[in-house]
């Protein structure tokens, strides 16, 4: 590469860093529309994609904040299962729906708090260890309290969160079958709240600062442990919300709920451009990462591509996404 070429390449990096991911979604949608003109962009299919990603996006958003602090949370898949079981047991115990509804986020909150306290106060060498431990513990507890069997049948008020439909008859005319899933609205609202939190509050700024240089954050008088506990607690809380959405979608709490979904969440965050080294990434990027995973799976399913090929593709995308991050660091950091 000669000098001129290199400098244009370097100039393009910030552009791709900001909009590259949206470009990728646009390309995917166009390609899938060409390959599946009748099905892919149909209202039914698109709402289906959103319904699929809504609970997964909660995990991704929580894991994203953790990754910004240069940490990791492997336990979110188990938190979603434990909060789902908690919800199911509260429901079976005959508690009113508004209490049942609070159980899942509350269980998630407590699980996250447990992670945060363990990581900071027990001075674990890396959050990987603590959350690997709780990955087993939370799922184990979930199976202990449920006896390891599925619990099904929840009140309509619970189901509406994950499965509700906002009919568009008033806009599109009588008898139209188009609708917006309630879970999509919830997802957008939560993503917006966390966007505000991360970009427009001091704690949000400190989360990025800790990921950039924890020593600098400490020297600035920031209580790093307190912020980390907040981050892991919020991550657990979001996983609990994910459990609530999943309860509505499946009308069932089952032992394998959320199994390996922590890995999907990490994948979405990385594809969305967040750096595993911490301090870098955006809420919009996470949204895009989640959508890319969702669209990819949906598109490949529509074309009857085997699940095995889906695994190969998603894995490849993760590696490419991180390699782009490596290149970006090489070019933009002056040493």
């Amino acid at each position: 590469m000669d000098k001129n070429q290199e400098s244009t390449f370097v100039k393009l990096i910030p552009f791709f860093e900001k909009y590259g991911i949206l470009l990728l979604i646009l390309i995917m949608v166009t390609v899938l529309h060409i390959l599946q003109p009748d099905v892919f962009l149909s209202w039914r299919n698109i709402t289906n994609v959103f319904k699929q990603v809504s609970w997964q996006s909660m995990l991704a958003l929580g894991v994203f904040m953790v990754i910004v602090t240069a940490g990791i949370d492997l336990s979110v898949g188990s938190i979603i299962m434990l909060s789902l079981m908690g919800l199911a047991i509260a429901s079976k115990a005959g508690m009113p729906w508004y209490v049942v509804m609070l159980v899942a986020p509350a269980v998630g909150f407590l699980c996250g708090l447990f992670n945060g306290i363990g990581i900071t106060l027990l001075k674990m060498p890396h959050p990987f260890i603590m959350t690997l431990g709780t990955l087993y513990i939370f799922r184990g507890v979930g199976n202990l309290i449920s006896g390891g069997v599925p619990i099904t049948g929840f009140a309509d008020e619970i189901r509406v969160i994950g499965n509700g439909k906002i009919k568009l008859e008033s806009i599109l005319g009588e008898g139209s079958r188009e609708y917006i899933p309630t879970s999509l609205i919830l997802m957008i609202v939560i993503f917006f709240i966390f966007w505000v939190f991360l970009n427009h509050t001091r704690i949000g700024k400190w989360i990025y600062a800790i990921g950039g240089n924890p020593g600098a954050a400490r020297a600035a008088g920031i209580n790093v442990n307190r912020i980390l506990i907040i981050v892991y607690t919020l991550c657990g809380f979001l996983a609990g919300i994910g459990g609530l959405i999943l309860a509505g979608r499946t009308n069932s709490a089952y032992p394998n709920a959320g199994l390996q979904s922590e890995l999907d969440a990490i994948a979405a965050v990385i594809i969305g451009g967040a750096s595993f080294f911490g301090g870098r990434g955006t809420v919009l990027g996470v949204f895009a990462g989640v959508m890319i995973m969702g669209i990819l799976r949906n598109g490949l399913n529509l074309m009857n591509v085997s699940v095995f090929w889906q695994q190969v593709l998603i894995g490849s995308i993760i590696i490419i996404a991180v390699y782009i991050d490596v290149l970006r660091r090489e070019f933009s950091t002056r040493k």
């Binding site: 427009h200 001091r202 949000g204 950039g212 954050a217 600035a220 920031i222 870098r280 002056r334």
Partner: protein
């Protein structure tokens, strides 16, 4: 220049178990003065600075700030008095812009109902004003610190230390990690601070730094005050001798 003493340390001793890190050390600095502190490794420079910044409590002796005796329990206490430390490892977050680093932990906010939101406009404005006041040139206040050169980073670290009307800034080896051509800029910045009435304590082993910015130099040797002189009345060779424990 007024002769008002801003900070005074009187017969400071610091023991770590049986080890005596500082023994009966005195230090004083007046408003707008640049004081160089030299000494070999283990002479007690760092320990003394940590005592001044409140990180260590002295075993014996006392600190006076603008004539009043003070007890420092943490770096926060010394910051509240107007004493800031610029660390050798800079303590900046490379992923954040210049302005965010300068105001990290003390971000300007605006109230909206029960919530405090970051005031991005005000932070940017304050950053630009402050950088202009210190004559620090950067492309933009929004530039990320990791994109800056070593000298610019040092300048941001100093800007950060002085953003809240610091009266005294302690700099630990401010030019040690810099390319030769950038050293001059940082030294100019120290002189700017002096002109703004800020007192600066520079710890350095580079005689060039000491002799281009300091008004006075003091040498520590094995945890004690060894020698001290205004710059006019000493020479490089003499100061180097002090560091090695030689006095005529």
């Amino acid at each position: 220049m007024s002769e008002e003493i801003v900070l005074e340390a009187k017969s400071i001793s610091k023991f770590f178990g049986k080890i005596t890190a500082l023994s009966d050390v005195n230090l004083q600095i007046t408003k707008g003065e640049v004081l160089g502190v030299v000494g070999d490794n283990g002479a007690g420079k760092s320990t003394l600075m940590k005592v001044l910044s409140g990180l260590y409590k002295p075993s014996e002796g006392s600190l006076f700030f603008e004539g009043n005796k003070v007890n420092l329990n943490s770096p926060r206490d010394s910051q509240n008095l107007g004493l800031e430390m610029v660390y050798q490892d800079l303590a900046l977050a490379g992923n954040l812009p210049i302005g965010d680093n300068i105001f990290l932990g003390r971000e300007p906010v605006k109230k909206m109902g029960p919530f405090n939101f970051l005031d991005h406009k005000k932070r940017k404005q304050l950053t630009e004003e402050h950088l202009a006041k210190l004559k620090i040139n950067v492309k933009s206040a929004d530039q990320k610190v990791e994109e800056l050169s070593g000298g610019q980073r040092q300048a941001v670290a100093i800007a950060r230390a002085t953003a809240f009307d610091a009266k005294i800034v302690i700099m630990d080896e401010p030019t040690a990690a810099l390319a030769v051509k950038e050293v001059g800029k940082v030294l100019d910045l120290i002189l700017n601070l002096k002109n703004l009435g800020v007192s600066v304590i520079v710890i350095s082993h580079r005689m060039d730094d000491i002799f281009s910015v300091c008004d006075r130099v003091m040498a520590l040797f094995q945890g004690t005050n060894f020698a001290e002189s205004t710059l006019k009345n000493t020479s490089r060779d003499e100061v180097i001798g002090w560091i090695m424990g030689k006095k005529d």
